[in-house]
Structures are given as C-alpha cells and as structure tokens.
C-alpha cells in the first residue's frame, strides 16, 4: 500500500516547515493557540519562510516568534519598541514580510506611542497583539488593556479605563484593524491571511487568555468571558488571488473586500450589520460593544488603498540594503560640481 504523500502548500512546503521550537509558555496559554493559527495561516498562505521576518518586543507573547517558522529570521527587541525596529527593517528591505507579535503591555503600556506612530506611517507589516490584559512575564500586574472593573487574581480591581487597541487603531486611521480571539481559529486564520495580503500595517488585536494570571472569575479576558461575550461580526473566507469564488450566497448577506494583492476577503454577516470600509461604523460598533460588555470580533476596518511607508518614501522595489557604491554615491562629476557651489 502506498504511503500518502505529505500534504504540501503552493510552495511545496509541508506544515512542519512552518513550525518553530517547542513552546516554553504555560500549558493552555492563549498565545500557544495563536501560534498554531499563525502556523496554519502561513502554511495555507504559502508564505516563503525566507522572506519572512518575525518581530517582537518583550513578554510571554513576544517570545512566541520562536515557536513558528524556525527557518525565518527573527528580532526579539526591547520592551514596547517593536514598531521602531519594524519600521527600520521595512525601509531597509521592502521585500521582507514583516510579521510582528506583541503583548498588550508591550503595545498599550510602554509601547503605546510607538504603536500609534507605526500606524500613522502605515508600515507594511502584520501586527498581532496577544492581548491578555495582564503582564504575563512579570507575573500578573494589570496592563493598560485591562477592562475597568476587571479583577486581578489576588483580588484587586482595575480602576482605570481600558485602552481599546482596536478602537485606538481605527481612530488613528490605521489601514487594517481586526479583533479576534485565540480560541477562534476559523476567524483568526483568514484574518491573518488577509493581513498578509494587505499592504500597510494590519493590526490584529487577539484576545488571548493568560491561564496563569488572568483566567479567573472576574477577568474580562478569560476563556469563559470570551466564550460568553464574543460577538462575531461575520464569517470570513479568504480567497487567494488565483482562486475563483465557488459558491454563491444570498443577496445582501455577504460583502467582499479586495485586498492590495488582488486576493479577497469574503464576509458573511452574522446578525450585526457592519461595513468594514466605514471608519465611523467601526468606531460605532466598538462603542456599542464596549457599552454592552461585548467583545466584538471580526474585520473592523480596512482601507486597501492607503499608501504604506515605503511607497510614501518612494523607495525602489529593490531592497535598499542591496544597493552598492554605484547607486549610492555621487558620481565624480556630481561630486566636483557640488563642491564648486561651496
């Protein structure tokens, strides 16, 4: 009997080619689920591991870049400063596929300023926030995304307004903003693929329960809370550029977003009405959710046309880092002429 050939993707790579080191995170940590979804999305999407560059800050979440695609370069920077490193890398080599993983402390506490400015520059990258409302690595202090009224493991209550990463990103004019849940691979995998296809910063605010420090009663980032309060906006299908649509759906129940590279994200409405190309609508749906204690998930906003950093800088397609003396220095004539001006 013939052995079934291993399944491979468009690049001829198997899913194992997208694996990383064994995780050192806690068993059951939401971050580990996200890692699995990332592996699946990268595999399905046929991402070239050699073009991938994994970026992160500091935290349990930021460690996660070690746990997928071992064959890709990675930069685990300093706490909260992934955006700056990513911006520099994007400028140096616009052929890189920058894939960032950060935490809520990393992004919304220490890194908030950089995060906002990254969005403003629309640096071409995927930016996953593994959002658990606490500092996992330093043992459970509240982060800036902890919900007001949410209870710490030791009983103290967060009295500060939450920073809603998705809402903030929309308000700042980010070009791609989605929210998801580590437990919802069916939603997260197409969102990651859409993020990869998007040109510009694609923010994925993924609620990712910390089983060790923030999965108890009273936490609004626990598995249980999410199971009960996750309001999924739409069913998602990612359709690569090459593929044709297969099934037709009833009028009005679905919309499609065409992404930068020609691929499409198909959204099938689930109850609530939401057009992800309408910025104000995104603010509205988030505001409504916030007031009702709901965690609204799905693609909140996308603007596939926004120019990214490298386009604005008018960088050539060839990576800057590959240019040599010829392309970079003045000619002898230019050099001599310039000095005549002084």
């Amino acid at each position: 009997m013939a052995v079934a050939p291993p399944r491979v993707n468009v690049l001829g790579l198997s899913r194992d080619d997208y694996k990383g080191l064994a995780t050192t995170l806690c068993a059951g940590c939401g971050h580990n689920s996200i890692t699995n979804h990332v592996v699946k999305a990268l595999y399905d999407h046929g991402v070239d591991p050699y073009r991938l560059a994994k970026m992160s800050g500091i935290g349990c979440s930021s460690k996660a870049t070690a746990y997928f695609v071992e064959r890709a370069h990675a930069f685990n920077g300093v706490h909260g400063r992934m955006p700056a490193l990513t911006t520099g890398a994007a400028a140096a080599n616009r052929q890189l596929l920058l894939f960032g993983i950060s935490g809520d402390g990393d992004t919304a506490s220490i890194g908030l300023g950089q995060f906002c400015h990254l969005l403003r520059r629309n640096v071409d990258c995927t930016y996953v926030v593994e959002n658990n409302g606490v500092y996992g690595l330093t043992k459970g202090q509240f982060s800036a995304t902890a919900d007001i009224g949410s209870v710490q493991r030791k009983g103290s209550i967060n009295e500060l307004e939450t920073i809603d990463i998705a809402g903030l990103a929309v308000e700042l004019g980010a070009s791609f903003v989605a929210r998801s849940f580590s437990g919802d691979g069916a939603q997260l995998v197409p969102l990651i693929r859409a993020a990869l296809a998007h040109r510009g910063t694609a923010v994925l605010d993924v609620i990712s329960p910390c089983v060790t420090f923030n999965d108890h009663e009273g936490s609004t980032k626990s598995y249980r809370y999410l199971k009960e309060h996750d309001v999924v906006l739409h069913d998602l299908d990612f359709i690569p550029r090459q593929e044709e649509i297969e099934v037709e759906y009833e009028e009005g129940t679905q919309t499609e977003v065409e992404l930068h590279d020609g691929s499409r994200l198909r959204l099938r409405k689930l109850g609530r009405e939401h057009d992800p190309r309408d910025r104000l609508a995104a603010l509205q749906v988030l505001d409504q959710g916030r007031r009702q204690g709901e965690v609204v998930t799905g693609l909140l906003y996308v603007n596939p046309e926004a120019a990214d950093l490298c386009s604005r800088e008018r960088l050539p397609e060839v990576p800057l880092r590959d240019l040599g003396e010829e392309e970079l220095r003045l000619t002898r004539e230019q050099f001599a002429a310039l000095q005549q001006e002084w």
Binding site: Y50, A91, Q339
Partner: protein, 602 residues
Amino acid sequence: MVASTVNGSGSQSANLVLTRAVFEMGIPVAPKNLFPSNIEGLPTWFHLRANSAGYRAGRRQADLMVALNRATFAADVARLGPEAVLVYEEAFGPAPLVDGAPGHVYGLPFARLARETVPNPDLRKYLVNMIYVGVVAEILGIPEEALERALAHQFRTKPKAVAANRDAIHLGADYFRNHVERSDALRLEPLRATGGQRLLEGNQAAALGAIMGGCTVLAWYPITPSSSLAEYLIGFADRYRGDPESGARRMATIQAEDELAAAGMVLGAGWAGARAMTTTSGPGISLMAEFIGLGYYAEVPGVFVDVQRVGPSTGLPTRTMQGDLEFAYSLSHGDTRHPVLLPGTVGECFEFLQAAFDLADRLQTPVFVLSDLDLGMNLWMTDPLPYPERPFDRGKVLNKADLDRLEKFERYRDVDGDGITWRTLPGTPHPLAAYFTRGSGHDEAARYTESDAAYTRVVDRLARKLETGRGMLPAPELQEAGSQVGIIAFGSSHHAVVEARDLLAAEGLTTDYLRLRALPSAAAVGEFVSRHDRVHVVEQNRDGQLWRILQLELGPELAGRLRSVRHYDGLPLFAEDVVAGIRAQEPARRKEPLRAVAGGSS
C-alpha cells in the same frame, strides 16, 4: 569682528556675505555664530575672525564691533579693548565707554537709512543688515569685486535679489565714507591664502559623508544643533538619490516621533542589512540608551551621530560643548563600550561619517560620531573633500552562495578569533541563514540561554571584539618635536590648540601635540604620554571626561602625567583659554604675565 544683532532679523545672510567677501580677498576666515534658543527677538552675535595665520578658532576680544542690539549694547561695548572700533546705531545714544575704550566710535543712523531707502518694511528688516556690511567693507577696505562675488554666491538661487542687496551695501559704504571721520587705521590686506579652499559647515560635510558612505536609511528627530545635518542629508538624497525614470528615491529619510524610536529604526534597518544612521544631540542620546544596549549585545550595526550642545538636560541648546563623551562611550546599563569617532575638522566630518558605516558593518555594533555645535553649525575653511576611492566594507556577511559552501552557520561563533562573528541578513534564501536576534542571553548559535558559561563567553568575546576594533579606528595625529610637554585634544578643540601652541611657543614653551580621533584610544596615545613629562588634556566639559577616560586606558603609571584643561561655558574654545589653562599647570617660565584675558560674556 563681532556683529551683535537680534535673531530673526535676517542678519544671517549679511554675515555670510561679509564672510565670503573676506574669503574672496584670499584671507582665511573663521566665522562663528552665537545664537539664542529662540526664533525671533533675542540677542545673537556673529564673530568673524580674519587672519593671515589661518587660525580657525575664535577670539574673545574683537577689533571691530557692529552693535545693533539695544538690549546688549552696554555689555557689548564693555567687552571692547582700547584699540577697538565700534560701529553702532546712533539712535542708542552715546556709547557707554569704559576708561576711554573702545578708542574708535562711529554712531550711524542705520534704521533711518533703511527707512528712507527701503519702503517695504519686510524687506527693510533684511536690508538694514546689508547696510552694515557696506560700512564694514568700507572700514576694512573690502574691494568691490570681493563683495560682488560674495553676493553672487549668497544669492545664487535667487539672483534677482543681488541688486537690492548691493544697493544696501553701497548705501552703507557711501554713508560711512561721506559722513564719518575715521580715527582708526583698521584695514584688511588681500592675501592669497584661500586658494582652492571651500567654506563648509561640519553638518553639511557629515551629510555628504553619509551619502558617500552609502547610508540608505536616516531616522531622526529634530534637535539643535543636529537638525541641519539631517536636513542637509535629506537635501542630498532628494538631489542625488532620485531615479528620474521610476521616480524612486534610493534613500529612506524618516522623521521619527522621538529619538528613542529613531534609534530603534536605525537598529531595525541595520539588522536588515541597510546602512542606517541617526543624528541627534545630548537629550536624544539619553533617550537612546536602552536601544544602544540592545545594539551592543545583539550586535547590530548603526551609526549614531551626536552633535553635542551644552548639557546637562536641555542645557544651552545653542551653545557648544564636548560633554557627552563619557556617557556615549559606555551608553546603556550593564557592561558596554562603543567605538566613538571624534572628527576635529570639516574634512573629518566627511571622512568619519563614511568610516563610521564601514566600522559599524565590520564590528557589527553601534558606532558613535561625536561632533559639536561649533564644528557642525559654523562655516569652516577646508580643503576640497576627496572623492572616496575605496568601496564600502560591509564586513562579515554571508550570502546564499557562501552558505552553500558551508556546512554550518552559527551567528555568534568566533570562527576567526578576532571576536567578530559572521552574520546573515534577513531574506537570505538558505536553510542555514536564519538566526534569532535578541537582547536576552544567547549562546554561539543564537539560542536563548541563561547559562552562566555561555553568557560569560559571549560578553568576553564582545570585549575582545572592541579590542579588534581599536585597530580599525582613525589613528591619532601627532606633532612632535621632542618637548617634555604634550597636549592631547579632540574634536573642535583642535583649532584653539593649534593657535595656543603658537602662543605658548612665543612665550618659550614648545609643546608636542596628539590629536585623538577615536576611542578606545590607540596604543600610540600611551606611547606619546610616555615620551612626555606632562601632558595637558584639553577639552570642553566640566568633569574632564577625556582626561578621566585616558587615565583608565593608560593605567595608573602614565595617568599621573596627565593634566586636565577644561573649558565649559558654552562658548567655542578660544586659544587664550587653552594657554591660560596650560600655563596654570606649568612651572613658571617668564616673569611678566601675558596680558589679562577678559572673561567675556557674550
């Protein structure tokens, strides 16, 4: 000459025309601009030194002053000696002479002349300054052709402006000639001492150095006195890096949200393989501390230019100092040390920027270039800059083809024994290429570890790497003639030292001189010190930072020979300061003291 004006009043172009005109007479010039941290309305002084000897430092005492700022009038006049010439706005009233000084006083109706001849008040603001150019030209005897060439140069991009400015100059010259009875005998004689020279700011030269050094990513945040470096660089990129066909520009110039982010962008780009830099001043260096530590430990190249100003904190943003030396040299917590280049001339600003990119790539670490406001923002005479003859040295980078030949690649394995390991760039399509970069503990294979042994091996190698680097740095420049007394200086202090050595020699004290051009210091420094009984370390900071560093690098035996000469009031270093500082620490040689030097407060 000193022109005392109000900032925002457009005196800048008048001063440049004057500078250029003297230069065009073949006389070496050294202009210095003392301006306030303000946009409009506060005092500003322009110092122009013109001297046949070609000294480039300023002087505390002026022979000629143009006083057009009422607020500082009395203080300005008080700084003048008995031989000096004072030209001032007569509307200020009689000049408050001190013991009959200055000896030659000419009050002129600058404002009235401007009012009468320039109806447009916006224009008038600018032209009034050209009137004093005319007056000074008349006093000093600057020939018409020199002025004409200076005007043509100054307004090369808007030649229409020449006529109005020329008229204003003539107005001043004519008025002076016709209405003023001269008592002085001040005069400039044409020379032929500027042939082939250029007038250039350090920041401009550094920007061109960055371009010629292959910089492709600039990330910066505006801060005086470094902003102009970035702005020159952007200008060059726009002009020379554009691709007329595609419209693309072969350089990214990102204005970051702050210096912390700028440092991160540099490291991100350096890691990805580009030649990246930032330029900043003291406060920015403080904000970059954490990232520099990451660059050191994770071994990421990047060029960090610090155009120093007066600290601590915000300090005096528009005054000059060499106060960040110790801080930059071992910036960040933990055990760290970084190569620091110390350009002393405009030519070196150009040269060292290029060198910095090679060094950063070769040593795979953040490299500092420490300039200062005096060097960076003032015009300096310089020989033409040389076209670089060597290709970039990108250091130890393995590409796909290299990896094809190798069985194994470990990012942090010292295969060559020089402390420098090989790296690959992200995006290299080879199964061996990828490694994990981090600022936490790692072993030779770039794996995470908390092992005590691995940690020690890595940081010991980093120390070794810097030792290797020592040999790659610009060597000190020596001027020795067997004296027992030596001088060590660096950066912009050089120019005052050159002059001070002549002054000292005139007093009978000949000195040898070592100009340091980089840290860690070369072996030649210790050798120099060991050949001298006393070596004066001249620098512009309160704490004697280089003196401290050298004590440690030379060891206790030689350290005892070092003397510290410090200047730290924010004004550029004057030769008199150096002379006074050295004389105070040398056994007396002559009976009569040198004429006292006024501690001028400008």
